[in-house]
Amino acid sequence: MNGTIIEVRFFAVLRERVGEEVLRVSPPAAVTTVAALCDWLTTEYPAVGIALEATPRRMVAINEELATPDSPVAAGDTVALFPPVTGG
């Protein structure tokens, strides 16, 4: 999916650690899952790599639905990364 755009959103302590709310990224075609996307972000965006390493317990949502590291990501998706939720 080279040339395509994925919107990556961060929340809570992860947003603070990344220093950004949203990144619009164009990963190479080999990046087809959440886990691969996180690995690629880590190499391309040092601040994201440091933030992810500092936040090992994470949840992920794709297009506002909870997902897992294995879940596929595709062009046009919004992928949200955040620490375990603590509402209620």
Binding site: F82, V85, G87, G88
Partner: protein, 161 residues
């Protein structure tokens, strides 16, 4: 799963004002013999906590709350569900969340209300910061909240029959 009561009314809201000023629907329709209402409030933790701040994922939060209410009405015969969650800064003693369940009979209402809170705490994108004497700190998720939610998942196939 079978939809036991597809006509269960669902109302969800994310509100940045005190919930104390928000009145809940009265279940005076003659169908609901049981109304169970949960209010989660800010504890001061023996003076350690001065306030909370709640962040959320706009859009996804409302969808996730609607989704868990839909799950509840598939599992229990309910007449109505209301879930209101507050965001922003919340003072000690104030309501963070209110879940109200109306049903014909009490056991369904109690179980569904407890279920909704357990699932909300582990699946809805909301995050708490607490204000201590030395500033704001993110609240860590508690293992027991994840376990409470997991218990309902394990019981799902059995209970849904």
């Amino acid at each position: 799963m079978t939809a036991i009561n597809a006509e269960t009314d669902i109302r969800v809201a994310i509100i940045a004002e005190p919930l104390e000023g928000v009145s809940s629907v009265e279940g005076q329709d003659g169908r609901s013999g049981a109304e169970v209402r949960f209010s989660g409030r800010v504890r001061d933790e023996s003076g350690r906590v001065r306030a909370l701040f709640l962040e959320h994922y706009p859009g996804m939060t409302e969808n996730a709350l609607t989704r868990i209410a839909e799950h509840a009405r598939e599992r229990w015969p309910l007449n109505a569900i209301e879930i209101i969650h507050r965001i922003g800064e919340i003072q000690v003693g104030e309501e963070i969340v209110r879940v109200v369940v109306w049903a014909g009979h009490r056991h369904a209402a109690f179980e569904a209300c407890a279920f909704l809170m357990d699932i909300l705490k582990s699946q809805v994108p909301l995050w708490k910061k607490e204000l201590n004497d030395d500033g704001w700190h993110w609240v860590e998720a508690r293992e027991r909240d994840a376990e409470a939610a997991a218990r309902w998942m394990g019981a799902a196939s059995e209970r849904a029959r």
